[in-house]
């Protein structure tokens, strides 16, 4: 027996069966000697029972079809698409302005158009385009079959290794082929339990065939990119740069 006096919260927790065994005993003993409290607690218990049995049948009713979750998920899909369309149109216009403007400014500012720096940009573009996509972020799902592996080998040529990030808490969602100014690239996407997504872009490199890891940062999208044996890799995501670095190291060690 502890010497802690019984308080009102104990009585409530007693009613709800939320006390540990020892405290439960103590409260039961207290109620044995305190008639008023015992009467109150028993009325509270009756109140709970009455509420549960009065409302119970509602939970046993068949669910109306408008509350069918699968239908609600389905219904939200076209709505999302229609929101994307005007944004995509705007993106095309902005891209056109950017491209022509960029061409005129070319002589003054040279954006990275080659090597690992260009790869990092392509990776963050892929991230922007697909990581926010709830409908179909990947073309080929990682379902344990060979489809993704075959896609990977076909895209980058030769046997492909698909890194496993489960140690870092990220699952492989799948992948798709993305076009880049330097040939097709393979995009892999991973996510964790909180819905954070990472994108990995791999493609053949003409320039920077072997290059140590470098960081990149575009607004909120951070990346780490490197190249080895003629293949370039860029891992991007909207998470802390340091944490992303450790994941990139893990990836590099597997490749």
């Amino acid at each position: 027996m502890t010497n802690r006096p019984i308080n009102e919260d104990d009585l409530q927790a007693f009613v709800d069966g939320a006390l540990d065994a020892e405290r439960h005993q103590e409260v039961a003993a207290f109620l044995g000697t305190n008639k008023d409290a015992a009467k109150r607690v028993s009325a509270y218990q009756q109140g709970s029972t009455a509420l549960r049995s009065a409302l119970g049948p509602i939970a046993a009713e068949p669910i109306p079809s408008r509350l069918n979750l699968a239908n609600i998920i389905e219904k939200q899909r076209p709505a999302k698409r229609s929101r994307v369309a005007p944004m995509a149109a705007a993106a095309v216009i902005l891209l056109a302005i950017g491209a022509s403007g960029g061409w005129l400014l070319k002589g003054y500012i040279m954006p990275p158009t080659e090597g690992v720096a260009a790869l990092a940009q392509e990776a963050s573009a892929s991230y922007s385009a697909f990581a926010a996509d709830r409908l179909r972020p990947v073309e080929v799902r990682a379902d344990g079959g060979d489809d993704l592996k075959n896609l990977a080998s076909a895209t980058i040529g030769g046997p492909a290794i698909i890194p496993d990030l489960s140690k870092a808490g990220y699952r492989l969602m799948g992948g798709r082929v993305v076009p880049t100014p330097h040939g097709s690239g393979l995009m892999l996407m991973y996510d964790d339990d909180k819905g954070n997504r990472l994108v990995m872009l791999t493609r053949r490199m003409q320039i920077d065939q072997d290059k140590p890891m470098v960081a990149s940062d575009q607004h909120d999208i951070r990346g780490w990119s490197w190249a080895s044996n003629g293949l370039g890799y860029s891992l991007v995501g909207a998470i802390g740069s340091k944490y992303l670095h450790t994941i990139a190291d893990e990836m590099r060690s597997q490749i």
């Binding site: 009102e8 919260d9 009585l11 409530q12 927790a13 009613v15 709800d16 939320a18 109150r40 009325a43 509270y44 009756q46 109140g47 709970s48 029972t49 009455a50 509420l51 549960r52 049995s53 009065a54 409302l55 119970g56 509602i58 939970a59 046993a60 009713e61 669910i63 109306p64 408008r66 509350l67 979750l69 699968a70 609600i72 998920i73 939200q76 709830r134 909180k194 819905g195």
Partner: protein
């Protein structure tokens, strides 16, 4: 999206029950549940709360509370809190059992805050911590509110037979 189905679909009966406990009208309660589920689908991947149940219940609770406030404003009538006990209890039948419609009529006589806490803890079996998340108040507030809510419900149920007396000189319930 698959984990959304496995997590949320089993909650739907309980969500309907909670909504109906707060809003007696069946259609209106299901409207709120539908609204809640739509928000859950939209925000599922962005949720930060690890406990899916309290996250979903919190969305439902906030929608229901907004609805109750709107109704009260639109009707321009006195809020339930301001009503004297006797008038809120007149609908109770003279049958003195605690079961069935009586207890539902009784909780309708409680302020919405008290009704919510009773439903969450006593009916939906949420832990005090989960209820605190849903109501966005500290656990201490959950405990004191729960204690007051239970006491008021007890008084309403105990005084019920006397409240069936005629409320005015011209109205008399005849069974």
């Amino acid at each position: 999206m698959d984990d959304l189905l496995t997590h949320v679909e089993p909650m739907i009966p309980a969500l309907r029950r909670y909504a109906r406990g707060l809003i007696r009208d069946r259609e209106a309660a299901d409207d709120i549940v539908q609204d809640c589920l739509e928000r859950v689908v939209t925000n599922w991947t962005h949720r930060r709360d690890a406990n899916a149940r309290s996250w979903v219940f919190a969305i439902l609770h906030n929608l229901a509370v907004n609805r109750i406030r709107q109704e009260a404003r639109r009707a321009g009538r006195v809020t339930i809190d301001e009503m004297p006990e006797a008038t809120t209890a007149v609908d109770a039948s003279q049958d003195s059992t605690l079961f069935g419609q009586d207890v539902l009529a009784a909780i309708e006589g409680l302020p919405p805050d008290y009704r919510s806490i009773l439903l969450l803890v006593a009916v939906e079996d949420l832990s005090y911590a989960e209820a605190a998340t849903v109501l966005n108040v500290p656990v201490g507030t959950v405990m004191s509110r729960l204690s007051r809510a239970r006491e008021q419900l007890r008084l309403l149920l105990e005084t019920k037979p006397t409240s069936a007396k005629p409320v005015g000189p011209f109205i008399r319930r005849v069974k």
